[in-house]
């Protein structure tokens, strides 16, 4: 469904992506892992067109994403941002129903609110949260609202950018479970970037490791522990010693 072929992206002299090849099948949950600063977020932003790759191709259903009609292309995606990226001038329900209040998916205001409240319920938040402002919510609640917003228009493809960063282990577990459940029940294709190995095991069908600007290893999550790749082994076990250079 999504295919990346030889994607390069640099910033000035720094080359972040050096030829990424990756494919994600329909209905699959792909998790991309890698250390901080390895270009995971850049990869995701290149797919969404938030950044332009220097070279290479990104295909969605065989079509180059640069040739796709932008609105129709974006309407297929939902995204949960690392910090939530909720619009702090809008109440929670308008954040969730943002897409349903304007543009090609516009619905009557009352209907949009009902959908927002339903999506909030789906992520474990009651209707009393709907009229609060994002600044009045805890970090975990903001993530849930971000998740509700990502799924509000029932997209085919959902991206999760570091979904558990900044959460306590219990809340992280709750978010992981929610992501797994929602992706399964919607039949959506999911791509998650994270360095939280608990998330990887909870969410992934397939795992790809990004290192030095390329996909170092990719395969089913069940084969990850027995990959025999020293880079992947060091990463998943969190060892300071190994082929991946660390600063001390």
């Amino acid at each position: 469904m999504i295919e990346l072929v030889g994607v390069h992206k640099g910033f000035g002299a720094k080359q972040v992506l050096r030829g990424v090849d990756l494919s994600i099948n329909r209905g699959e949950s792909m998790v991309v892992i890698g250390g901080s600063g390895t270009g995971k977020s850049v990869l995701l932003k290149c797919i969404l067109g938030l950044m332009e790759p220097d070279s290479g191709q990104i295909l969605l259903d065989g079509q180059d994403v640069r040739e796709a009609e932008r609105d129709a292309f974006l309407a297929r995606f939902g995204m949960l941002f690392q910090g939530g990226a909720l619009f702090d001038s809008l109440p929670v329900w308008q954040n969730v129903a943002f897409r349903l209040l304007r543009g090609r998916l516009k619905r009557p205001r009352e209907e949009a609110r009902e959908i927002a409240v339903e999506k909030l319920r789906r992520v474990g938040l009651g209707p009393e949260v709907a009229d609060l402002l994002p600044a009045e919510l805890s970090g975990g609640m903001q993530k849930r609202v971000g998740l509700a917003r990502a799924i509000a228009a029932e997209p085919e493809i959902i991206f999760f950018d570091e979904p558990t960063t900044g959460l306590d282990p219990i809340m992280a577990g709750v978010i992981n479970e929610l992501i797994r459940e929602i992706v399964t029940e919607m039949g959506a294709t999911a791509m998650t970037i994270t360095h939280d190995m608990t998330s990887v095991r909870a969410i992934a069908d397939k795992v790809a490791m990004l290192h030095a600007g390329k996909i170092r290893w990719s395969g089913p999550v069940g084969e990850m522990d027995a990959s025999g790749d020293p880079y992947l082994d060091q990463f998943i076990h969190g060892r300071a010693e190994g082929p991946i250079e660390t600063l001390r």
Partner: protein, 266 residues
């Protein structure tokens, strides 16, 4: 001349060249941004709620600061003109000079600078914070063009509402002069108002409103441009806010000189 010596001697020229090139590139970027933003003002989709919020922020909420600034300036102007005019027995011209000074120059410029301080800074800080917290990226993924949703409504509000603020500022400024003149300088209220009204021309008022529209456009454009192009983190937001107010203030004063030349140079 050795190569090293040549480079050493030409270093100041090279630095000057880099600065000029940088300035020209910045002017080019702002101009392109302005044209793109203006094109979005006239092309759907439109966001009436965002426009209404911008009208409220730029216009209604700026009224107190604009009113007070104009009131005090009008009063001070009357005192200065009276004191200066007294030296050659020309105290009687206070109503006329207050009117012309406020309507042609001080009204639009002070309102413009107050808008730069109050509105440009808040727009830049808000949009820059949205940039660093990925809210702008979120807008894009939600199929909403940031230029249409954030820039176009603010720009249109600046264009439409700042002339109205200037008109209010002009009236309050003249009223400030009136209060001081009739309260402590011995002018008769009726003749003060008559002199003011008789002296002002339609061209004075049109120039005042036109300056207001230009300054409103500059102030909101600078806020949006610097906010959208903010650097990372709190420092990025701070720099964007500072740069937006500096640029807006300088451009407003430069545009004022240009417009005064266009309207009033013989």
């Amino acid at each position: 001349m050795s190569r090293a010596l040549f480079f050493r001697l030409s270093a100041p020229l090279a630095a000057l060249g880099r600065s000029v090139l940088g300035l020209l590139a910045a002017i080019g970027r702002v101009t392109l941004y302005a044209f793109e933003a203006l094109s979005h003002v006239f092309r759907p989709p439109f966001y009436p709620r965002e426009f209404a919020a911008a009208l409220l922020n730029v216009g209604w909420l700026s009224l107190p600061v604009v009113g007070l600034t104009a009131l005090f300036t009008g009063g001070a102007l009357a005192l200065q003109i009276y004191a200066g005019g007294e030296r050659f027995s020309a105290e009687a011209v206070v109503p006329q000079i207050v009117a012309i000074g406020i309507v042609r120059e001080l009204g639009p410029v002070l309102v413009g600078l107050m808008i730069a301080a109050r509105v440009t800074s808040s727009i830049a800080a808000e949009i820059a914070t949205m940039r660093v917290t990925e809210q702008i990226d979120a807008l894009v993924t939600l199929s909403t063009h940031p230029m249409k949703y954030l820039t176009a409504p603010r720009l249109l509000a600046g264009l439409l509402v700042v002339p109205a603020l200037v008109a209010v500022g002009d009236v309050i400024g003249i009223y400030g002069g009136f209060l001081v003149s009739t309260g402590s300088l011995g002018f008769a209220p009726g003749s003060y108002i008559q002199n003011t009204w008789d002296f002002l021309t339609r061209a004075d008022m049109i120039s005042s409103l036109a300056k207001g529209a230009a300054f409103g456009f500059i102030a909101t454009l600078m806020g949006c441009y610097h906010g959208m192009n903010s650097g990372r983190g709190a420092q990025g937001v701070g720099r964007a806010t500072k740069a937006s107010v500096e640029a807006a203030a300088v451009l407003i004063l430069a545009a004022n000189f240009l417009l005064t030349n266009i309207f009033f140079a013989a």
